[in-house]
């Protein structure tokens, strides 16, 4: 499969290429990205930081200094919550967290069990009892590697979630723009919503996409007053499955999916049905995660951000 060239990773994006879509309000309530982490802590830079409470105190008008007064996180509405996205994201994050905890439990219990078994024999290595070596030294690298893998896994998931969200946002705006231009909204083609079977709430990635992708029903949003009003239409969903590089037609026998890859199964399976067709930047990004060698993937992806430069190093 050829990877579309697209923009080089890390290259500056032309200003006019930004999506016309306003980012959702949640994004805007966060501190501005460019000013807050370029300095080490000792530099005399202060930025406005808004805690949820401040946010709502300001929204109420005036400064409310009495901490006993309850505030409502939901009012005024801070952001439109796409409940479907939330469910998928939470599912993927939960799976990753459970995988991390299970890994930790194994990393602690397996050595413990083995040590109990071998302790009576008092085996030694390089003049030291093996029990001491394991408890004092060997177990720590395992924990550190587990932590690093967990971070990589979760960052892969979150990048995908954000990409999906951004793609959805641009999709929605384009749809509304087209509606005014053509007086025909793509949402008009949407079939009547059907309840989604519980078993398919979190679809898993199909490594071998079928020739004709099975149309999925629009997922039914949770009963949530904040949920997005209009999920994407069926017509938008149809042609996506075989296009995105999220699932190779036939993964080679030697390819072992990384933990992040496995956890992404839910997000990816869903993304295949929801992403726009021709988003080569997104494709680039996801390909980098999948194809790049391990070190390059982690480092290349992570170093792009100014936050990851050494503090005060510029």
């Amino acid at each position: 499969m050829t990877v579309p060239s697209g923009r080089r990773p890390g290259a500056a994006r032309p200003a006019d290429a930004r999506p016309a879509v306003a980012r959702p309000a949640v994004a805007r309530t966060l501190p501005p990205r460019d000013s807050r982490h370029r300095t080490g802590q000792t530099r005399a830079t202060r930025v406005a930081v808004t805690s949820p409470q401040t946010e709502f105190a300001l929204a109420r008008g005036g400064r409310d200094r009495t901490p006993s007064r309850p505030f409502r996180l939901g009012e005024p509405r801070p952001a439109p919550v796409d409940s479907v996205l939330l469910r998928r994201a939470l599912g993927a994050q939960r799976r990753a967290a459970m995988a991390g905890l299970v890994g930790l439990a194994l990393a602690l219990s397996v050595p413990a069990g083995l040590l109990y078994l071998i302790a009576p024999a008092q085996p030694r290595l390089a003049g030291l009892p093996v029990v001491w070596l394991v408890l004092g030294i060997a177990i720590y690298p395992v924990l550190v590697v587990l932590a690093a893998r967990q971070v990589r896994r979760v960052e892969t998931i979150e990048s995908t979630i954000v990409a999906v969200y951004a793609a959805q946002a641009s999709e929605a705006t384009a749809a509304s723009g087209a509606a005014t231009a053509q007086s025909a909204t793509p949402f008009a083609r949407r079939p009547p919503p059907r309840p989604e079977p519980a078993a398919t709430l979190v679809p898993t990635a199909d490594p071998v996409p079928t020739a004709a992708p099975v149309p999925m029903a629009d997922p039914v949003p949770m009963a949530d007053p904040l949920s997005m009003a209009d999920p994407l239409s069926m017509a938008d969903l149809l042609p996506l499955a075989d296009l995105l590089p999220l699932a190779d037609p036939a993964p080679s026998a030697g390819t072992v999916p990384t933990p992040g890859e496995r956890d992404l199964a839910g997000v990816r399976g869903w993304a295949r049905t929801r992403l726009p067709l021709d988003d080569d930047h997104l494709r680039d990004h996801l390909n980098r995660h999948r194809d790049a060698p391990r070190g390059a993937r982690g480092d290349g992806h992570l170093r792009e951000h100014p936050r990851d430069q050494p503090a005060g190093g510029r």
Partner: protein
């Protein structure tokens, strides 16, 4: 005197670094979360500096000497706790954006009463922890320099209060990141010096479990408590006191059988004689001492091990001063990266305390007779070195221990001041400074009467309390949409009552024997699961009260909009605004 000068130097240095770090602090955001401007690496240094308390610097080596190599599970649990923190809390909590844990509780569950209850929990945990740190400072200064106990307590309390009043979290961040490096160097360099100075014979004896441990020199032991000793063979000692109720004064032969020495007795053992075994402690030449089991007390080692891992791993997740550090990262990714770097830094530090414990077994085993195993790190230089090198090495270790007291105490005082000024009384920088001074004063006053507590005592109880209160609140609040304020409050109260009840039973007298004692001695193993259960059950019973904003809160925590380096994909459409279709491939 050298040690005192070094301690004074580290106190002055910390104050200066704190004042410098806090010179730009003006706003509440500066004081509470350093304006969220701390880079991952710096935050990781500060987290490690804060987390590695005196219990890590002095306590672990003492536990190894006292109870055996299996006590290294403590260190492993502390490190594993960071992994749990990383997996469950770090990113989402930072993304939620609250300054403190009580504020998270109110924001997530829409209840100001819950915020106050959480704040009280934070105060209890932080005060228990802080008192034990100040107590450690007083004890170490007294044992090495000879100053009265309260001077060390007051010195540590004053320095941390000054640091926090100067610049809140900005000062604390600078001080803690510096003190991590100080601690690591001042633990690692003496360890290397001691291992080299011990010589080949002592090193090989330290690694041969089966060889009985002998006194290196004629050693005078002053028994502070009534103690049961078991000499391995007959030994002639010079004794003043009483053995098995009979007064002795002068040379006496101790038989190879259990016998009780009264409090205040002073024995002088000859060089080369075997160090007697003590009471219920495992023999230093036996398989229990060298084995992988946590054998801190007879009875229920499996439950003790399980409870220990629950307390350390889950308790770390609920320590308010550690959680507050993650609020200083610019975003959720930064917080998570800080956690993973901190895991590495903490693991690096934990390579060294076992060295002291193992050397202590062959060079300072008499500390087991007096119960002062906590001081093995400080005592070893005098046993293995001589002259100026011994003084210098001991001064390094005392300074490192004091650095550990300062860095952990400053984080704890920070949490106390935040909870008092941000969650209980009115807001503002002035309120924060007043709260810091008041909290430090209370901690100093509380620490003075508790001169005889074990260093690790307060830490263990604080962890156990955190595991049964803030840990379930955070874990369920972050991952379970159906948590309600009533459920959270019920769980918090359950955890508080269970732990404080067990603590009171432990402090007031003997809690009994068998399972009852085991349950009271290590409550984390049952209190934390109980608190989780109560939280879930009470939330399900009050499911009508699930906050309307639960989805919004979870969305905010788990959908990391606006903080990733991911490029936002530009729309690529044709003139009519349609997708350009699959030909793009």
């Amino acid at each position: 005197m050298t040690a005192f000068l070094c301690v004074a130097a580290i106190a002055v240095l910390s104050t200066l670094v704190g004042a410098r770090g806090g010179r730009v602090a003006r706003t509440t955001s500066d004081f509470l979360v350093a304006s969220r401007s701390v880079s991952s690496r710096r935050n990781a240094l500060a987290i490690s500096g804060e987390y590695l308390s005196a219990a890590s610097f002095l306590g672990t080596a003492g536990l190894v000497l006292k109870d055996g190599v299996g006590q290294l599970w403590y260190q492993i649990g502390f490190t594993a706790g960071f992994l749990v923190l990383l997996v469950v809390v770090a990113g989402p909590l930072r993304r939620f954006g609250s300054y403190t844990v009580p504020e998270f509780a109110e924001g997530r569950l829409e209840s100001s009463r819950l915020r106050r209850l959480t704040a009280v929990t934070v105060l209890v945990i932080a005060w228990i922890y802080l008192v034990s740190q100040l107590k450690g400072a007083g004890t170490v200064l007294r044992s090495v320099v000879g100053t009265p106990y309260w001077i060390g307590v007051a010195l540590a309390g004053t320095v941390v209060a000054a640091i926090i009043i100067a610049g809140g979290m900005r000062s604390v961040t600078s001080v803690q990141s510096m003190l991590y490096i100080v601690k690591l160097v001042l633990l690692a360099v003496p360890a290397v010096i001691l291992v080299v100075a011990a010589g080949g014979d002592l090193r090989s004896r330290a690694t041969r479990i089966e060889a009985p441990v002998r006194f290196l020199n004629p050693t005078t032991v002053s028994f502070p408590h009534r103690t049961e000793i078991r000499p391995a063979d007959r030994v002639e000692v010079s004794a003043h006191g009483s053995v098995d109720g009979q007064l002795v004064d002068g040379p006496v032969t101790l038989q190879a059988r259990p016998q009780t020495v009264s409090a205040g007795s002073i024995f002088t053992f000859p060089a080369g004689s075997t160090v007697p075994s003590v009471g219920a402690l495992p023999d230093t030449d036996g398989p229990v001492w060298a084995g992988p089991a946590v054998a801190s007390a007879p009875g229920h080692p499996v439950f003790d091990t399980y409870s220990l891992l629950v307390a350390t791993a889950l308790g770390t997740m609920g320590l308010p001063h550690v959680l507050a550090r993650f609020s200083t990262s610019p975003d959720g990714r930064g917080a998570r990266r800080a956690a993973v770097i901190a895991t590495g830094l903490i693991a690096a530090f934990y390579l060294f305390p076992p060295v002291y414990g193992l050397l202590g077994r062959v060079a300072a085993a008499d500390l087991r007779l007096t119960g002062a195993t906590d001081t093995v790190v400080i005592v070893l230089p005098r046993r293995l070195l001589s002259g100026g090198l011994a003084v210098a090495t001991q001064a390094m270790l005392v300074t490192g221990a004091f650095a550990a007291f300062l860095s952990t105490s400053s984080g704890l005082l920070m949490s106390l001041a935040s909870a008092l000024s941000h969650d209980i009384t009115r807001h503002g920088v002035r309120a924060f400074r007043n709260a810091a001074a008041a909290a430090a004063l209370v901690a100093v006053l509380l620490a003075v009467p508790f001169a005889n507590l074990d260093i690790s005592f307060g830490v263990t109880w604080a962890l156990s309390l955190a595991a049964a209160t803030l840990c379930p609140l955070l874990a369920l609040g972050i991952w379970w949409p159906r948590l309600t304020a009533v459920g959270a409050a019920a769980g918090l109260v359950t955890g508080l009552v269970a732990n404080l009840g067990a603590l009171a039973a432990t402090l007031c007298g003997r809690p009994g024997s068998g399972w009852g004692e085991a349950l009271v001695r290590s409550p984390a193993g049952w209190a934390a699961p109980l608190a989780f259960l109560v939280m879930v059950a009470a939330s399900l019973l009050t499911r009508r009260n699930v906050p309307a904003s639960a989805s919004a809160a979870l969305f905010r925590m788990h959908v990391p909009l606006g903080e990733t380096s991911l490029p936002v994909p530009p729309p690529r459409r044709d003139a009519a605004g349609r997708h350009r279709g699959r030909l793009e491939r």
